[in-house]
């Protein structure tokens, strides 16, 4: 997961991120120490800023993912129960 373009691509263009939100959000993650940023030369020979997850970021991601799965699990069970009863 490096670079914004990738983030764009992973989400398959279905998630429209406003840059006005994206930059501060990335900055916030950086300030919290979850990601780090570095300038690199891209394939097209351009200077671009590359963001990468730090160890703390990875840990936090796992935690958040678990949290998310937990939530979606509950939601799924709730919705299927809804489906059966009706």
């Amino acid at each position: 997961v490096s670079g914004k373009v990738d983030a764009w691509q992973i989400s398959g263009d279905r998630l429209l991120v406003n840059y006005g939100t994206l930059y501060p959000a990335l900055l916030k993650l950086e300030q919290e120490g979850y990601i780090s940023a570095e300038w690199h030369i891209s394939e097209s020979n351009r200077r671009a800023k590359y963001y990468s997850l730090s160890a703390a970021g990875r840990k936090q991601l796992r935690k958040e993912a678990q949290q998310w799965e937990h939530t979606t699990g509950i939601m799924a069970r709730f919705l299927s129960a809804e489906g059966q009863s009706s």
């Binding site: 914004k4 373009v5 406003n18 840059y19 006005g20 939100t21 994206l22 930059y23 501060p24 900055l27 916030k28 300030q31 919290e32 120490g33 891209s42 097209s44 351009r46 200077r47 671009a48 800023k49």
Partner: protein
Amino acid sequence: MRSIRTFFVRLAASSFRRAGWERDLAEEIEANLELQIEDNLRAGMTPAEARRAALLKFGSVESAKESYRDQKGLPFLESLVQDLRHSLHTLRKSPVFALVAVVSLGLGIGANTAIFSLIDALLLRELPVREPHRLFALTQTGSMQLKSSSNIRYGLFRQLEDQHQTLSGIFTFHGSPRSNVTVGSQGEVTDALMVSRDYFRVLGVQAQIGRTFESGEENVAVISHRYWKRRFAGDASVLGRPIAINGAPYVVIGVTPPEFFGPVVGTWIDVTIPAFGGGTKPMADNEVVAWVMGRLANGLTEQQATASLTTSAQRWMESPGLRGRPAIVLEPASRGFSFLRVQFSKPLQILMAMVALVLLIACANVAGLLMARASTREQEFAIRLGIGASRGRLVRQLLTESMLLSLLGGLAGLLFARWSAEAVAAFVSTVKDPVGLDISVNMHVFGFAVLIAAVTAILFGVAPALQGTRLDLTAALKQGRRSGGGTTGVRLRRVLVAGQVALAVLLVAGATLFARSLNNLKNLDTGFRRDSVLMMSLDPAQIGYKDRQIVQLYEQILDRIERVPGVRSATFLRNNLLANAASLTSIVVAGRLPRPEDEMELAPGVKIGSATRSFTVGPRFVETMGMTLLEGRDLRRTDRFGTPLVAVVNESFARYFYPGESAVGKRLGYGPDKPTAVEIVGVVKDVRHKQLRESATRTMYGSALQDPGSWRDTTLNVRTAIEPARIAPSLRREIAEVAPDLSIFNVTTLERMFDDAVVTERTLALLSGFFGILALLLASIGLYGLLAYSVERRRGEIGVRLALGARPGDVLAMIVRETAVLVVAGLMLGLPATVVAGRWIATFLYGLTPADPTTLVLTVAALATMGGLSAWMPARKAARTDPMIVLRHE
């Protein structure tokens, strides 16, 4: 943890230069756009289309940057810094305004802080010892208590000293004020304290250098840090130094920490020595010890301790067969003992209320100034609102300015409080009770100053800030005429000024009441002449003199002293005039049966039948004290041991027991067996002997030379023909020749005794006078500011009036009327408030009521004068307006 890290990262970003990361951000955005453009080109768009589409997809670059900036630093802090910088700049641009505001706030906050630091030291602060909240004062109730003391017997105390289940430790102490401490060959009088063995252990105070004493140790002394610095210049070799206290030898073994002053707030103990059970002064088991303090054992509640101690006390009282069912009462003693606390807590509260009012006046002043400034800054505000600043942002800017002003004022106030609190503390000191309070600026006091600075900023800042930013933009932006906001501003300012006048009335009237009370007390006919009397105390019993030896010593001293040039006459007294001490005696009046109404109250609840107040005095007492002899004669040197007993009585005595006849030659006695032992030889006019605020009390003066067994420390009173203080050295020399090792203490004059007796009233009168003047000054600044402003505003109107034929006198009258309305409104509010508030201070008034007409007249006169002075300059300026100039300017 993450949020702390984030905070510091953002703080760092705020504090350092932003140029670096701004460039980075621009570059990052540019790179991102380029990538997008390349994508679009690859999709077959033209370069122009590709750039447009990329920009569209990105959205607003500037707003992305803006939200990035907000996240990068701490915008709140940044704008605060910006506001502060701007505030400093605007204050620097109007130095007179800044100076007036900071000085008035400084005086207001300073006065509050000074009084608060005294309240803190005397009433609030805990003793600087270990866990002060577990300390309790012990008092025994259940039997008659004459002196104010713990009323606990020494035997019981010793028993409790060895029990540790209820109280982990207990100590008693006995003050030895004005002890003569000799270092080398130099004697000096200072406050010493005799304490029981566990004193330092119970308080949890450890020596700063050296050690404290242990059980059973004798003739060792621990000195205070202050005393060590002063008397021994902080010399570390002080340990082991021999000193003499009232002639007895001691060795210095330790120095207490700098903040420790002893168990009594208001008395700084310099020398502490072990006594009680130590041996210097053996005590009998049934003697009462003075003051007792104990530390509650861990895990015990106050109630449990009280119950357990009461049981111990009852069991102890039963064993020697003493009467009474005692109970032990515990009182929290975390703040230590204090005798000043009772005397000064109410006056301090009164003063605190007064300084709070002074501060309110100062706040109203600054608020008025700020409002005037806001109206001159309307254009600045209008422009800022016009280019997109929110009103909240402007209000914040103005409040920052107020906060800055009040912080500067608070700083000035702390400096002012620093020296004034010490001056006030020195001021309440008397010869008898020198006050040693720790009034250094501590966290309490500092916090208080900062807190009231913040509160004042809100008090004076909010209204002008809201007022000043409520603008009609178009009107404000147009030059010339002021917008509508001005009139409500002026109305608000008029209310503020009337309020200031009302508060000033309250303070001036209060100060006048106190000053007039003090004056009444000073002009009181005390019955004696207080000028030219030197007093010095002696205690021959302290160095071993007994009964008749004492008489002989005094006779020798009187013989020598009466020959000293400049001495008119000399006598001695057991209970000094105005020393707040007196004794009662039961008497038998020959030929008269005792009646129930002859009873007098010795202490609350303790009555003595067939009583008179009585004093033992030396020869030539009436003459020396400048009393008026109505009949008969003064006491003489010949009324000495072995001659028939005589007494002088006062007018009240004579009138009470011998109505309608002469008392001289009448006889009385001390008991039924000798009903005619004493002959009355003289009658004097009534004297306020015990204190100034006493009513006439029947009194009998017996000859001390006939009754040597009854007295210990006495005071030599010498009436002089010259300045009394100048004669002291020769008197000391004479006494030293008779008794070289007799120490002389409490050298003072009757005049000083009198001044000490009115110390509370004098403190109140002087301080309230100072606050009253301050209030007048501040209120007049407020009034002047408003009038000057309103004359300036109405220049056009005044010009037109003058042009249409009004005379300058009419204009003058107009301004005077405006002033009068404000002052009268203030008086109408302030005077009734004074009468109501006066009830609260009534106990400190003498010879007048809070509604004292003279006071009210003086107050009105003071306020009218202040109004006149404040109005003079603006009114003159208004009357001298040249209509031509004004109208041309319009």
